[in-house]
Symmetry: C2
Subunit: 469 residues, 2 copies
């Protein structure tokens, strides 16, 4: 049964399991104690720290273990901001960071700090110049900048080294969220703080990494605690830490060969899905990307239904569609990129993925998408250049009332009606679905129509589209 | 090799190990996902929550899993204080709480809140009336009161039900730190919040419990996160959570029989150590106490040296002596109780302790204490009623300069000189060792002399003792 959602959580690496078992026997005592069980635990902790630090590319005394990647981000951001509070309270983040970063930024803003969100292009990448501008145009001196090494939803790698250089020039520390990439290799460039999460590379749950370079001003927040240099309170989760470090070492040894292998499998998906499935947008940078991750969106498809069909067919994948989120909003990443969110599918292959599973996925996907579209009454895929159906003189303006209807219905109704207005004619869609705000412009971009903008309506929002194609 | 420090961390229970292994295979995926691996993880998480809630005595939706007991305390206290911020900012804690509570109280004080520390008697217990008084005499309305179920250093059980009743009457929520007792049974009485730590009952590291009763005002602090009802951010440490819940169930089934067995072994230590070793004070309540834990202090003994000797002899124990702490201060618990801290030994027996190991400990201890005392030149134990040695008319006042000398030297020098002044004569000890502040009065109490008090000296502190015996 192929599991294609390693970006959420990777299956436990056999080496992690083995190391965890050994450490359960040897590493259950308190490493702060001086008796033999404590000394043994301390040795294991020190060795794990050295191994993880070598993989991160820092000194062991710069690295602490936290209870999760989220905790590493929350605590790392709070500690770095507090360390430079006297310098200024401005924080720079990209618009496509993990929600843990964006929620930490919310708290900072609520506490009186200022935040700049750096936008991304249609591939999901930031421009180093945009970070430079955010630092230069800051309303007050910047305490910290944050940037992920690669995006968790679309796989696009960020220009970390270049952004680090801009930050260095401005005298601002850069925190890099390396959760998605650390298993594939060290983060290049002059970062100041780095975070990661073991269960993303095949380590166990319960272990995050937080590295703070010597010389970076850092003031841990919350009640003091002697563990982990005062930067991560609570009894060390030692067996899991040992397993995390051991698996990181092994995953790194296998990384180059496995990256090449998975990159080829992902290329198959990137190339063949648009050929096999009409009306699909593959998103994210095609080259500068994580080797194992690809995301695409299918017009006129309900993401939750497609995920359910894929699950029934044995494939576990993820989605950034609004219907798969508890808030009924599309993923903030897809929104920042301005790409289609409906029928969104993220495939992230675990190490060791069997190529035949990818082939089977490619075989099954077209039929599943077709059946979901049929169920939703989607318009038949238009072959390029198909003329609008001959009819009585079409009205130059039509209004589609999609109020109360959820993604993908508003876009489906728009697509059905657009052929009924003449070229240059306008369709107004009334919708109260958050996904429409992203997906109607994205549909226009895909189909060559002109998006005229939105305005508040009596209920919901009116989205206006001019027929061009 | 007997491990007698289960109060620091218990060896992993075999059931915890077994459950952890099973959950590593079944529970590595994200329980928030809808595909089969996610659903399987969600089922495991729900079952673990139900089992743990039943053991705690709360509803499953009142209980969340945190990354450690310390995190449960830090986050639980912060959330409860914030939930009642508009009511008032007064916090009540006992003087013998775990440092995680006292450090959370420090942060609260630093942020403008007020804190009352409720004192304890010589057994380490609070009086319910003292909590009532702290609530009644508060400088502002009280947001929260905290009390441990039993003390981690001396084993004394606190009158939780009575204090909960006082809090209920005052309309103040009570948070109970049940870290040391939850494996032995549910906490009685009407608590509002409860915390615990799995590795204290034989579960794995990396799991704390935080229960918040319905109706208790609670506002989680820090960046928001959807996991664990928004009360414990970060990816769930599911295999460890499953192991924690399974081991808690089993430990509870064995608790009554094992408690009776360990209580008898601890009684042997409580009774026989003072007979076998001269000048020993066994501390903590002899009856109302944890079944597996006993603490005693040995006059004229360096705690670190004694622990080292015990470790060489194969026994792993803990100590609250200043010389075994990184701050060179004696344990705040012993200080609050006003008992001797030098030569302090905490024995906490794991479940399954072999009685022959306790016997061997009792055989070895007297010789080890004697050899440490000889090394430090301690005075020979005085048989009761031994007259002072005949000598030239003794001076009525003597000064002992112990500046720069660490515990147990100042008390040893005092003990040597006291016989050289006449009854009613005064010895002044000059010391800059923090332990002296606690141990000189405690020595007076043990030996029947009168402690006259301390005052600042040109260097260090002058402690004055009048000879009575």
């Amino acid at each position: 049964m192929p599991y294609f959602d390693t970006a959420s959580s990777a299956p436990l690496h056999p080496v992690a399991r083995q190391a965890l078992l050994a450490a359960l026997d040897e590493g259950w005592a308190d490493p702060a104690r001086l008796y033999r069980e404590g000394r043994r635990a301390r040795l294991l902790l020190d060795a794990a720290r050295e191994a993880a630090a070598a993989a991160v590319g820092c000194r062991p005394d710069e690295l602490v273990f936290t209870g999760s990647g989220t905790r590493a981000l929350h605590d790392g951001i709070a500690g770095a901001l507090a360390g430079r509070r006297r310098v200024g309270r401005h924080l720079v983040v990209s618009a496509v960071e993990h929600s843990a970063v964006l929620h930490a930024a919310e708290v900072h803003r609520a506490g009186g700090g200022t935040v700049t969100e750096v936008p991304v292009d249609r591939t999901g990448a930031v421009a180093p110049g945009a970070y430079a501008a955010a630092l230069a145009d800051a309303p007050e001196p910047t305490a910290l900048a944050c940037l992920q090494s690669a995006n968790h939803e679309v796989g696009t790698e960020q220009p970390v080294a270049e952004v680090a250089e801009e930050c260095r020039a401005a005298g601002v520390p850069l925190l890099v969220d390396a959760a998605q990439s650390l298993g594939w290799g060290p983060v290049p460039g002059g970062w100041s703080l780095l975070t990661a999460s073991a269960h993303k590379w095949g380590g166990p749950a319960g272990v995050g990494l937080l590295a703070v370079r010597k010389g970076v001003r850092y003031a841990p927040q919350g009640p003091r605690d002697e563990r982990e240099s005062g930067r991560a309170p609570g009894f060390e989760n030692l067996p899991a830490i040992v397993a995390a470090a051991a698996s990181l070492q092994v995953v790194r040894q296998e990384a180059a060969a496995e990256a090449a292998r998975l990159r080829e499998l992902v290329d198959r998906i990137r190339t063949r899905v648009p050929r096999l499935v009409p009306e699909v947008e593959v998103v994210g940078d095609p080259v500068r990307r994580l080797p194992h991750l690809v995301t695409f969106s299918c017009l006129y498809v309900d993401g939750e239904t497609l995920l359910h069909e894929l699950d029934r067919a044995g494939f576990s994948v993820s989605s950034g569609s609004s219907c798969t989120s508890s808030t009924l909003e599309p993923s903030h990443v897809l929104r920042a990129m301005g790409v289609l969110s409906e029928g969104n599918v993220r495939v992230s292959l675990p190490t060791g993925t069997d190529p035949s599973d990818v082939e089977r996925f490619l075989e099954l996907l077209p039929g599943l998408v077709r059946s979901v579209r049929e169920r939703f009454g989607a318009p038949a895929a238009a072959a390029p250049g198909t003329p609008a159906p001959a009819a009585a003189a079409p009205a130059a303006e039509r209004v589609v009332d999609s109020l109360g209807k959820r993604c993908p219905i508003p876009v489906i109704e728009l697509a059905k009606v657009i052929g009924e207005v003449p070229t240059g004619g306008v369709v107004t869609v009334l919708s109260d679905d958050e996904a429409a705000r992203l997906d109607i412009p994205a549909w226009c971009e895909m189909r060559g129509h002109e998006y005229l903008g939105e305005r508040p309506a009596e209920r919901g929002t009116a989205y206006r589209v001019a027929r061009r194609a």
